[in-house]
């Protein structure tokens, strides 16, 4: 089953007089539970593709289907709800709420979904953090966590709502090589354990070994698809 189906997606940024074509006829399918690495140099359009797949940006042309819904037809309100319920994001820079503990940062997702932060939600947040190796850190503020720990909290937040698709934008770029590898390992395990599809953006070829398949992007064009391993 296809979780993400992007067809002939084009994205043109208007900046001043010049038009920048960030994505050109990008077609990409991601299957249920599949991990795809999106590899490309800086400025090649990786973030743009991820933003369109996650409903953060509207495509200029083309069709974007997520879980069978055509999100290219959605308005702002529908996109907000779509993002809340169907996708998880892990950003390049750590973007936790600074005044909330690790556990509360996960519960934000529950609150945005209208949840009461009840026992069930709390238990789920704790269990997720436990899985991510942060069982002893649930009550710490982001400022009291290391970079790797913060990124793991962000992963927990992305997974909290059981999304079908999780989008990672250079999740390890702020970490050193060893920590980066650990986090990638963790991401792979978590995705596989949940049968959740993921796109992991990177410009580091070594990170592609954690993916099922690698898609290269150069100048907004998706290149040959090479299976990993």
């Amino acid at each position: 089953m296809t979780v993400l189906d992007m067809r002939d997606v084009r994205k043109v940024y208007r900046s001043g007089d010049a038009d920048i074509v960030a994505l050109d006829h990008a077609t990409l399918q991601v299957d249920h539970g599949e991990i795809v690495a999106l590899l490309g140099p800086s400025g090649s359009g990786k973030t743009t593709l991820l933003s369109i797949a996650g409903g953060l940006l509207a495509a200029t042309e083309g069709k974007v289907m997520v879980g069978g819904h055509d999100i290219s037809e959605y308005d702002g309100k529908q996109l907000t709800e779509f993002r809340r319920n169907n996708v998880g994001f892990v950003f390049q820079s750590v973007n936790l709420v600074p005044f909330l503990t690790a556990e509360e940062n996960l519960l934000v997702v529950d609150e945005l979904g209208g949840g009461k932060g009840g026992k069930g939600a709390k238990a789920r947040a704790r269990q997720l953090l436990e899985e991510l190796g942060l069982g002893h850190r649930t009550r710490n503020l982001p400022s009291q966590l290391s970079g790797g720990e913060r990124q793991r909290v962000a992963i927990g937040r992305a997974l909290f709502n059981n999304p079908r698709l999780v989008l990672f934008d250079e999740p390890t770029s702020a970490l050193d090589t060893k920590l980066g590898a650990q986090v990638m390992e963790l991401i792979r395990n978590e995705m596989k354990a949940r049968d959740t599809a993921a796109i992991i953006v990177t410009h580091d070829r070594r990170m592609t070994e954690y993916a099922d398949r690698t898609v290269e992007i150069v100048d907004g064009r998706l290149g040959a698809e090479a299976p990993a391993h």
Binding site: T80, R83, R84, F89, N95, V97, P98, F99, E111, L112
Partner: protein, 372 residues
């Protein structure tokens, strides 16, 4: 929508961010209560004797320009008014402002000797000559029940038989006496504006409940007297007292200007806070927070900050009121607290609403854009 937890948590965990705004608003709340309290004190202290009238209208002579001191109603005019359509109970009223010697006190007390027939609220029916009931503000000036005060340069004696609350007249403690005593005091101390027997300054008129009126009572009376009288409702008579309307207008202007300052403080503070939070709002929008929810958080915080500022400001105002000498006519009424809180809330809501545009314009894609 459920109350969001995020804005509460931010207030609790990062209170230092909100301290400055809260302190500034608390001082403004104190200022508002203080100004309002002074206005109320001036108003209540000026108008008590008239507000206490339980009648429907007060009749002045037409030449008086609504002033008791200039007004004279003769027995003949009174008879005409009593015969007018819809007029029920009628009573004479007269005031004279004088200093009074109080036994055991060196300073003169400010009194308003008021002659009356129909008892105002809280005042008993008129007593015998030379006796009177005093407004309780004279208690603060050393007057006690049983004291005989000597009124004016003629030192006319009046024996105080009791006290009554909230009947002051033009910041002076009223002494309620029968009409004959009032005339005696007036004629002994103000011989230049003496009043003849049967003459009063004004009449209080109660509408006769049994008749249906063909028009407003004041008009009916003034038509009957062929323009010899000018009749006001009690509320209008209160506003016609010297200074009352002017004071009210002036203070109201200062109070509303202060509320505009409150609005500006809230607007500035929450705009700055919103600018600081743009990054966070981007992330929250990216993970599915609506503009509505984020803005509700801003509003909620503004309301909480305004509420805390109001509580602190109220305590400050109460402490200041307790420390002030009794002469300052500051009166903090429950109504004034309510008005001030409502004013702060409205200013907080309007002030924070300025941030709505900014919150709306936060692009969820900004969360993911580059190193953010």
């Amino acid at each position: 929508m459920r109350l969001p937890r995020l804005p509460f948590r931010e207030l609790r965990r990062q209170p230092s961010r909100f301290v400055v705004a809260t302190v500034v608003l608390a001082f403004l709340a104190t200022l508002l209560l203080f100004l309002g309290g002074l206005l109320d004190g001036l108003y209540l202290g000026s108008t008590g004797a008239i507000r206490a009238q339980r009648s429907d209208a007060i009749v002045f002579s037409s030449s008086a320009r609504d002033s008791f001191l200039r007004s004279r109603i003769t027995p003949e005019l009174r008879a005409e008014i009593e015969a007018a359509e819809g007029v029920g109970e009628v009573g004479g009223l007269g005031f004279v402002l004088l200093g009074a010697q109080v036994p055991g006190e060196t300073e003169l007390a400010d009194v308003a000797v008021a002659g009356y027939e129909v008892p105002p609220a809280g005042v008993p029916t008129p007593g015998p000559d030379g006796q009177g009931v005093a407004d309780s503000r004279l208690e603060d000036q050393g007057v006690q029940v049983g004291d005989t005060i000597l009124v004016g340069p003629a030192e006319t004696p009046i024996t105080i038989t009791g006290f009554v609350d909230d009947t002051a007249y033009l910041q002076q403690g009223t002494v309620w006496v029968n009409l004959a005593t009032w005339r005696a005091v007036q004629n002994a101390n103000r011989p230049d504006s003496a009043v003849a027997d049967g003459v009063v300054q004004a009449l209080v008129v109660t509408r006769d409940a049994a008749t249906t009126l063909s028009g407003p009572l004041p008009e009916l009376i003034d038509t009957t007297t062929d323009g010899a009288t000018k009749t006001l409702t009690v509320e209008d008579a209160v506003l016609a007292l010297p200074g009352v309307k002017q004071q009210g207008d002036t203070f109201d202007q200062i109070i509303y200007s202060t509320l505009v300052v409150v609005l500006a403080v809230v607007a500035l503070f929450f705009s700055l806070l919103t600018i600081e939070r743009m990054g966070l709002y981007g992330v929250l929008k990216a993970i599915g927070a609506s503009t509505r929810r984020l803005f509700a958080g801003v509003l909620l915080q503004a309301v909480i900050v305004a509420t805390i500022a109001f509580v602190v400001g109220s305590l400050l105002a109460l402490a200041a009121a307790a420390a002030l000498p009794a002469k300052v006519p500051l009166q903090l009424t429950p109504g004034r607290f309510l008005f001030t809180y409502a004013g702060l809330l409205v200013a907080a809501v309007l002030g924070s609403a300025i941030s709505l545009r900014r919150v709306t314009r936060v692009d969820p894609a900004s969360a993911i854009g580059g190193a953010g």
